[in-house]
Amino acid sequence: MIKRTAKIAVKRAKKKKNPFKLKLGSSKKKQVHLAKRHARERRFRVFGFSAIAASMIFLLVFFASIIADGYTAFSQAQLRIVVTFEQSLVETGNYRKILQNSLKQQFPEAEGRKQRFMLYKLVSKGGTNNLRDMVSKNPQIIGTTDQVWLPASSLIDMYIKGKTSNEVDESKRKIKNLQIKWLEELQADNSVRSVFNTSFFTNGDSRAPEQAGILGSIMGSIFSIVVCMLISMSIGIGAAVYLEEFAPKNKLTDLIEVNINNLAAVPSIIFGLLALAIYLNFFGMPRSSSLVGGFALSMLVLPTIVIASRNALAAVPPSIRFAATALGATKVQVTLHHTIPYALPGILTGTILGIARALGETAPLLMIGMVAFVADVPTGILDPATSLPTQIYLWADSPELGFVEKTSACIIILLLILGVVNGTAAYIRKKFQYDW
């Protein structure tokens, strides 16, 4: 043991002296100074690292809480009910009655109006649509009896997902003991299952949480973003090209430049008020429509696109312009054949980031009424519509428990879309950007 330590000591002694190590004999002042410099560097690193760590933790908590709240919205409880398609009721279109009669038959113990009312609340009102679809697809089932999986009501859905507990006093909760008993009977019969919630992606908004979907708001978002892109890209890129390539440099263009930069900092609600005053009140365009939404959003992203495009154009080195000019290209040819194509990756990246901002923007849309209850999925830019962020706003405002998970699920979808959009921008920048 001693031998070994001695060996190491000899080895150390033989090692070349480190010329970058402060000599022992150097002055105290120098040593202190050096130590201070190193300490400062360490402190700086720690600050930077802790800033990153803190933001990562916030982000993680944010995502975790949203996903924890929202993932249940992607599944939906279904109940197996024995349904009798009575001919007379089918002919009058009274599917509600068919459903109610079937439930009554399955649970004959429900007596009196109050209990029957509780019974009907097991199945979603949207279940009648399922029955109607079945009949129109296969008219032969009229007059027969069949087992049908129907979506459970939000009340039951929430209970199954464990969002409500039966430990509190019955008078203080919405789901009653009788309903729990019926549900347990169904469960014992293997008549309860959980399936992927397709209606969340195929339905428009609804007052009933289990029937509410995001298709309407997605279509509204798509329509308004398309309108926004058409306007802001053509005007924004055109303005940027003119300002950067053709406009004379004088006081007027300086003023325009300063104002564009200022516009980018204007709060979005101001643009909403402007859109309300101009498009709705002055021009009388349809309220709540994606068209006006697109107009409002394009005002919002125009400055962003102009600034990003100008930066991309300015990044094309003058030597390329000289080369084309010296070959005899006209100013327009230089711009169209060279400057714009080489700046295009940057322009597109800026535009996509602007679009991503427009996708998540809520305030201007509140002003022009894209926050109304719209049950129908919009089919054109003139139809009343909501957008994803305003849908979140609407649902977050709803008192029903079922909308809590819908809100979080909608946020997840919006974040996913934004992630894809921003990822596309990053990809374009990485893949196509020229390194000068």
Partner: protein
């Protein structure tokens, strides 16, 4: 009586940028199928002079030009002159190789395309091959014409720029320190190329290397503070300059 051997000529050329005058009464003759070298310390007006010869100074707003620049006896600053045609006749190669970030083929084909020099693909292919050949680059790039021009080495890029300039069949080629960003071997190749090109073109070259001026040029003009101090054949300028200042500059005593 017009001298047939003179391709370009400046008479009393004064150029100023805003308040700052860059050239004072410059008179110079540029002879046909010869290489004229412009030498002088930085900021003496060589580049300004060169850029006046194909009106590249037009793009600078503050630039004011006074005097005559004649191409084959015709003043190129007359109002009726179309700069697009002028620049087709007078090509330019820049200090730093500046190929377009397009394919090698597209780099050379761009000029002929915008001027409509060829009417079909075969002619264009032929012209591109001829230009690359004349720039001594064909052998190196013939199998990779679709690669981006920026993927070539610095010397190759500069030869690509020369091929691009000669593809539009100019009469005069202006070169602004074409070798300053290149290593000695690439420089040698370009110098050989210049010697070869002068059979067909008239060349004006700016250089900071006295040796290069001596090697490649037939005529030399020495600029200082915006004036031509001395000009003449390179042989005479380098062996027995008339003025002490020229001798000092060439010998490296100032500048």
């Amino acid at each position: 009586m017009k001298d047939k051997n003179i391709r370009m000529q400046t008479k009393g050329l004064n150029v100023s940028y805003g308040d700052k005058q860059a050239l004072f009464d410059v008179d110079l003759e540029i002879r046909k199928n010869k290489v004229t070298a412009l030498i002088g310390p930085s900021g003496c007006g060589k580049s300004t002079f060169l850029r006046c010869l194909n009106r590249m100074n037009d793009v600078v707003d503050s630039c004011k030009i006074d005097g005559d620049v004649l191409l084959d006896g015709f003043n190129i600053y007359k109002k009726k002159v179309d700069v697009v045609l002028l620049r087709q006749k007078i090509g330019m190669v820049f200090q730093k190789p500046n190929p377009f970030p397009k394919s090698i083929f597209e780099n050379v084909a761009y000029g002929p395309k915008i001027h409509g020099l060829t009417s079909n693909k075969e002619q264009l292919d032929e012209l591109v091959e001829k230009s690359l050949n004349r720039a001594g680059l064909w052998g190196e790039v013939k199998d990779r014409l679709e690669d981006p021009g920026t993927s070539l080495s610095g010397g190759q890029q500069q030869r690509l720029c020369i091929a691009r300039a000669i593809a539009v069949t100019p009469e005069v080629i202006l070169m602004d320190e074409p070798c300053s960003a290149l290593d000695p071997i690439a420089t040698k190749i370009i110098e050989d190329l210049i010697n070869d090109l002068k059979k067909k073109f008239t060349i004006v070259i700016i250089t900071h290397s006295m040796q290069q001026a001596a090697r490649v040029s037939d005529y030399t003009a020495f600029f200082h503070l915006g004036k031509i101090i001395e000009s003449g054949t390179t042989k005479q300028m380098f062996s027995e300059p008339k003025l002490k200042r020229t001798q000092d500059y060439i010998a490296g005593k100032f500048g």
